[in-house]
Every structure is written in C-alpha cells, then in structure tokens.
Amino acid sequence: MTRLCRLLPVLVVALMPLSAAAQDGASKLQEAAVPAVMTKAVDEVIRPGYRRFHETATGLTGAMKALCATPSADALAKARAGFASAVAAWSEIEIVRVGPALEENRFERILFFPDRKGLALKQVQATIAGKDEKDTTPEGIAGKSVAVQGLSALEYVLYGSGAETLEGAADGFRCRFGAAVAGNVDAVAATLSADWEKKGGIADQWKTPGPDNEQFRNGREAIQALLGILVHGVETVRDQRLEAFYKGKDKPVRPKSAIYWRAGLTFPSITANLKGIKALFVASGMEQVLDPADRAIAADIVALLSSLGETAPTVDADVAKAVADPKDQEKLDALLRGTRELLVRLNDGYGGAIGLAAGFSFADGD
C-alpha cells in the first residue's frame, strides 16, 4: 500500500453523513448500560494506564541511575529507551485531564507543555550550569519550578546540547539532575496510580453514579464526563500537539515548538495520545450506551481513530524535515482534517445520539 492510500480512510469516513438520530437528537442514552461502561473505563483503561506509566517511570529512574553510575553509550541508549517508554505510557493516559491529575499541579509537574516562552529550556540550562547539589534529589526537584520537574526537562538532559557528556565521567551533575527529575516523575506517577487504586476513592465513585455520588449524580453526567475526556483529548492533539508546529500548507511552521522534538518522539507521542483515546472509547464499550440503531456512529469514530493512528507514526520523526516534505505535509493535513472530523463525530454524532444537545460542552463552566 502506498503511503497516500493509507490516508484515504480518513477522507472516506469524513464523507459519510451523520445518522438521522444524531441529527434530530431523538435517541436517548441507554442509562442502564452506563455503570458497566464506567467500570470498564476505570478498570480496563484508566487504572492500568496509570499503573503502566508508574512502571515505566520507575524503569526510567533505574536506567538513569545506572547511566550515572556506569556511563556508556549502551547505558545512555537504555536511558533514552526508558524515556521513550515513559513518554509513550504517559501520552496514552495524559488524555485523562480530570481528577487526581489536575490536583496539586501534578499534570504540569509531569509535562510542562506547551511552553511558549521556553521556560523549561532556560531553567534547565540554568540548573545544569548552577550545579547545586539540592537539585540532584527528587525531593529537591519537587520544590523547584514545574518547568524543570518533568518530561520536558529530562528530554533536554538526555537529548539537548551537552547530552554527549552523559557517556563520560561517572556521577556527573547533569546525569544526577536527570535521575532526580526521573525520580520526581516516578513519585508523581505513584501518587496518581495510588489515587486511582484507593478503595472508596475516585475509581469507585466513577463506577457508581447516583444521587449521593461526589462525582456524578446520574449516568448521563458520567457518560458526559467520559465523552468530555475524548473530546478534550482530540482537541489537544489537534490544537496543542499538531497545530503547535503545523497549521496547514503555506502557513508558517514551527518545528521546534513540537512536543518532544529533540527526542524524535513527537509522532510516537501523538500516536500514543490517539491510542489512549481509542482505548477509552473501545475498551470501555462506549457504544453500549447508544441506541442499537445508532451504533454506526461508534463504528465511524473507531474507523477515524484507526486511520489517524495509522497515519501519525508514518510521519518523519524529524519534525523539521516533516513540515518541509510534501508527502509528510499531506499526512499532517490528513491528521488535521481527521481530528476535526472526529470532533464533529464525538460532539454531534455520539453526543447527539445520547441526547446531549449539539455542542454539549456548553455547560462546561461559563
């Protein structure tokens, strides 16, 4: 199959009309199916997602410590592989921008992005130059600016200018700072996972919507929150991850504004975002709350997500090259189109089919 052929599903799906039910809002939510869907979302996607992220963060911390103790090209490669694993695991679960991730700046402590003023770069460079021993423990890092606490900071340590020194002398400051950042990410990941595992905590609340529930008063609120995660996840992929560096042909490109561009992980991260969105939709069985006559909407959404998920990893990992290459531009355009279409399918299609008025996010706090 040629590369362009792989883009076609995005366009084909985009031409299919919304179902009649989605347009007139006649169908209603199958509320009885909601608790099972929420249970699967929590037990099969969210909790395993945070557990996996925690495991990869622990692995990354170990690889960083090993690199500091016994520097070598191989140890550096292992640390970088550990970073890529943690980025992939985080990118899958970061779509959950509700609950414990939004408390105590945890999200920003793990990922400070976008960073339009380049704060992370300036502060990480200053920290490395400063050689303050306080900055070589996870506890010390936890007290610093959020811009130097997470994955962006560690990316610079492992891939930014001067990263080659990591292969040199043992226990260098840069390496120990990096290990401390990894340890800090590990600690935040542990807290997130523990919060979602806690008995009587948010996980249980999510599974049992009802009048006395702290999170959701009924099934409609619960499924709306789940749909909100998907919608905001797709919006983030489009607005914050793709349009950060590419807004379309003949528009200015900013490859150095792409997430994880130094590590070449921009598209693996976007792919993992899409994988997380698809996992939440499919594994939790969100189509089960639709009227059987409307299930085609779910199939459309899955097809779009699959198509996007196939296209994203085929873009050149070198973002500067990708934005200048006509074939990659086609793919980026397809990703922009596809995410736009996906938002319509989720908001109007799925939202409409469960009886939410068009643009359900009207009620999200204004």
Binding site: G25, D212, R217, Q240, A357, A358, G365
Partner: protein, 362 residues
Amino acid sequence: MANPLIDRRRFVQAAGIAFLAGLSPRALHALERADAVFASAFRAKDGSYGVATVTERGEIVSRSPLPARAHGMAACPATAKAVAFARRPGTFAMVLDLAGGADPVVIAAPDGRHYFGHGCFSPDGRWLYASENDFDANRGVIGLYDARENFARIGEYEAFGIGTHDLSVSDDGAMLIAANGGIETHPDFGRTKLNLDRMEPSLALIDARDAALPAPQPAPERWGRLPPRHIALDAAGQIWFACQYEGPRNDRPPLVGRFSKGEPLAFLDLPEETVRTLGNYVGAIAVNRRLGLVGVTSPVGGAAVTIDAASGRVIESRNRPDAAGIAAAPEGFAVSSYDGRMQETQSDVAWDQHILRLSGHG
C-alpha cells in the same frame, strides 16, 4: 492604540479568512428592529455560529454570522448597537448595528489577551467594557473601548481577580462589578481549569472613573470552590450573583446571593430541592425589575427557577432540559435552551448560554 477597524492583521487573526470571504455587509445589517426584543448567540445546524435577534415569543427576526462561538452580549443604552463577545478563549467581539445603518465592527483582543465572554456599556453608551484574560500574568482585566472611536481599545482596568467572567455597571455608571470566578485558564490549555484545588473567587467593585477598588469585598468563608460567575442588578441597586460549584456533586452549596455596596454578601437560603434541581450550577441570572423577580437557569439540572427579590423565596421551579439563557419578559422571564427553544418557539439553532434584553420590560 491601533484602530481595530483598520488593523486587518488582528482582524484576520480573530475572525479567520474563511469568515471574511463569506461576509456580506448588506446581509449583516439588514436587521429588522421592529419586533426584536431579545438577542442571543447561537450555533446553527451546520455548525456555524451567529447572533440572532428574537421576538417576545421567541421567533427569530434576523441572523448575523459570527466567525466562531460567542457567549454573552451587551446592548448600548444610547444607540441601537449590540455587542457579542467570543466565548473564552476567543479573541473577537462583534458590534452590530441593530438599526441597520452601519456595518458591523469586529473588535480583536490585543496580543496577550482573550475575551472571557462578557461585557457591558456605560449608561451613556460612550464606553464598552469587556472582561478579558491577561493570560501570561494570570489576571483578569477589563478592556476599555471607546464607542465614539469605532471601539478603539484605549486601555484596561485591573479586575482584581482571576477568571473574570460576567461584568456589569451600576445604573449611574460610577461602579463596575466584576465576577471573578477565581479559576485559572490559559489558551494553551484550551478550556481546562488549571487550579480547581486552589481557587480564589471574588466579586470586585471597581470605580469606573479611576479604576480603583473602592472597598475590598470581604469573601465569605463559603466561597471556596463556589465561584460567582454571573451577576444582575435590581432596581434598588442590589447586586445579585449566581455561582457554579466545583466541589463534590453530592454537596448542596448555596448558589445565589445578593449584596449592596458596603454591605456583606448574603446567600439565599434556597430549599435543598431547588439546589438539587439546579445541579449545583447556575448558568445565567436575570432580574425583572418591574415585577421584582430574579430568574436563574441551569443546563446541568435542566431547570429555570424564579425567586421573589424582596423575600428571597422561590416562587416557581420549572423543568427545562438544557436551559440556557434567561431575560426579563412581560410575564416574568424568557428562557432559552440548547436544543433551540425560546419561549413558545422551537428554532433550528442551539441557543448559547445568555439572552440579551434589547428593550421593554426589565
């Protein structure tokens, strides 16, 4: 300060080229004023956005396209102009001449600012005030626009809080009232609320002449996660405010209150059933001055509630799924909903969160 009319670069940034290409000035100002008493932003079936003027019965009189989704509106007391403000984090506001004599004016937020979705005119119509986000400094500001100079932005006032949302002005024009929700947002993070665990809501009274804070309004202990988001003034000058609770869903927080300048805030002791009906969330509030009533709506609870302003008692609680805007009407209040209903009329639009009363009662 650049004139927004001729600052085409910002205009394009705010409105988008596709919208500009589709603009037909003649269509835009062909508004029939005669029967229109309300205006509201909407989303059309095809996903496009606009503003409509509406009759007392809820029928659409005219529509004007907008480049993106709008939220609140303001009417000029001295002219036939009305302004629609972009929903946060949008960067445009559109001034429409409802008498049809002038082309619409698109105002673009300056660099580093976006609109929060609300604003108001000074009583003489000279100034337009807009609630705005100075997002890099994380502070709310009030943009000051000169209506005589094609709405050039001549400066800004401190809003003395963050997450500034609704904005109103006293009848004598001397005092601005800002509902600072206290919720931090940044356009880089879309509509994500960044600080729900450390919110600092407030209601700020600001001198409209010198931008000073006349007297710090003491925050009640109960504020916490209970941000005041919308305000309305009654005939006695009392400020009514309505909140959106960000805490646990099974709490029953007070949602509506009132105060006068120099007096402490007082929450209404709403019946628990009413608070439940409102889903801990009031989306819009209006005062009917002639009848002495306060009306609130909740899309979360799907309800419209009418309160007697003098006693604070609930007079009526109506089930209105997807209840959106509310405005004074001859018999009480006109209520719109996301599914296109306003009064007794069903239209093929999704009404946005607020209705603007253009004339007559209220």
